[in-house]
Subunit: 269 residues, 2 copies
């Protein structure tokens, strides 16, 4: 089993991802796709007159402020536009894909964090009424049912809270928890960069390999900026949780999955 | 088994539909929900600067012109906004719902009608490049798998073409084919009117019952205007195909499903 997470930044080659996933699937490789959709969410949110807002947390992480309207736009793009685009591309390749969010069958379950701490002007403030949260549980029963019946699952945030609310959640972390739950041979985190870069955005500074024990090393964390930081944290958890290897790869190229599996990008083991 | 189709016009009480579906489901009633989303699609399409266009066909029916951009907006609203809203409402009621489009697992399969005939200025013209089609096959295997495992399916257009393209399709017809495939005891077509009206939009002119043999009667067809016409045609097919009864009911009220099952609205048997 391999879990392939495809980011939602500009430049992702969805056609290549779907074609490559289909080739592997037809060759007998069990896999699950997880995807994002942040850059298209930003565009649609702007176009609908509800521009994206991001909160910087006390720890330095940023997240999307998700009020009810933002959640609806998020669902439109992630569950509608991007999820069905990928399912359609797979169906065209002859693979019987099934697109699901974390709400469906409670696949990604977690705690809603209604009150979110953020930093503004050096002060810590609290935003209330947010629809965000962290995945704490992956319900693999539905996924196993689908896989055994020959369907390729294509998963996306939002997750579901224990009370049944939709919650915006980090897709990389969800994919990491999924790979851990399934004890996957590999977790691929594909985005619009070749992997983990020592000098971001200099693509020639690609880090080829990180020994698992050193993933949490401050030296590696220092080079991981912005969203890449979350990716590294996800890798730590996955490798510690029993995933064979985590690979940060490039989703802009042809055969992005096979190239990552062959060692292109940053390999964490 | 009952199939409940909830329309996509203004005024639908989704909370009431979900609450009612949950109550029946918990009492052991197997059911599948199918929904529309046309009025919200129109609003989002307007807001995104790609206003809806409708084609009038030579037979008098109208349908949404579905170019690629329209299809994307359609998927955002039907598969994202509306589908996940209903799934979330059911999850809040403690029902483990799974939202799927006709693309997912090829649930609703049909032929893409790329060239669509329409009437303009008294002349018959052809629009090419459309992503529409009619459902010809319902793949019940995935639905049976989900139902037997305790999941409530929440289905929506688009359907999938035999080549794997997403196709905009009429939700009522899809629900009717689904009910027929499952030999459902009842097919409920709930919208923002109390049922079939002899003098539309006079709600006091509700037709209480139509004997199945008379569904195709020109007298009944004459009173069925606009989209209601498609509903009547769907009822003909369903009853002829072995569905116990078809009920046109009101989705604006509390307990809309139980009221329709109790005989409110127009009953076709």
């Amino acid at each position: 089993m391999i879990v392939v997470k495809v980011g939602g930044s500009e430049g992702i080659n969805y056609e290549a991802v779907a074609k490559d996933a289909a080739a592997l699937w037809k060759a007998g490789q069990k896999l699950i796709l997880v995807h994002g959709g942040s850059s298209e969410t930003n565009k649609i949110a702007e176009a609908l007159g509800h521009p994206p807002q991001f909160l910087t947390h006390p720890g330095g992480m940023t997240s999307r402020l998700t009020d009810r309207r933002t959640l609806e736009i998020f669902e439109m793009v992630y569950c509608g536009l991007v999820n069905k685009r990928i399912v359609e591309l797979l169906q065209r390749e002859g693979v019987n894909a099934v697109g699901l969010s974390g709400l469906d069958g409670r696949i990604f379950e977690g705690r809603r964090k209604e009150a979110v701490k953020y930093v503004e002007g050096g002060k810590i403030k609290i935003h209330r009424g947010d629809f965000t949260g962290s995945v704490e549980r992956v319900n693999t029963a539905l996924l196993t049912l689908l896989l055994e019946a020959g369907y390729l699952p294509v998963l996306t945030p939002p997750a579901v809270s224990y009370e049944g609310d939709a919650i915006n959640t980090d897709g990389d972390t969800a994919a990491s928890m999924l790979a851990t739950s399934l004890k996957a041979e590999a977790l691929l985190l594909l985005s619009n960069v070749p992997g983990l870069l020592a000098n971001f955005p200099d693509e020639s500074s690609l880090i080829r390999e990180i020994p698992a024990a050193k993933v949490g090393d401050p030296a590696y964390m220092a080079v991981a900026q912005g969203r890449m930081k979350k990716k590294v944290l996800g890798a730590v958890e996955a490798v510690q949780g029993g995933v064979g290897r985590v690979i940060f790869g490039d989703a802009r190229v042809e055969q992005p999955i096979q190239k990552a599996l062959a060692g292109a990008g940053t390999v964490v083991r």
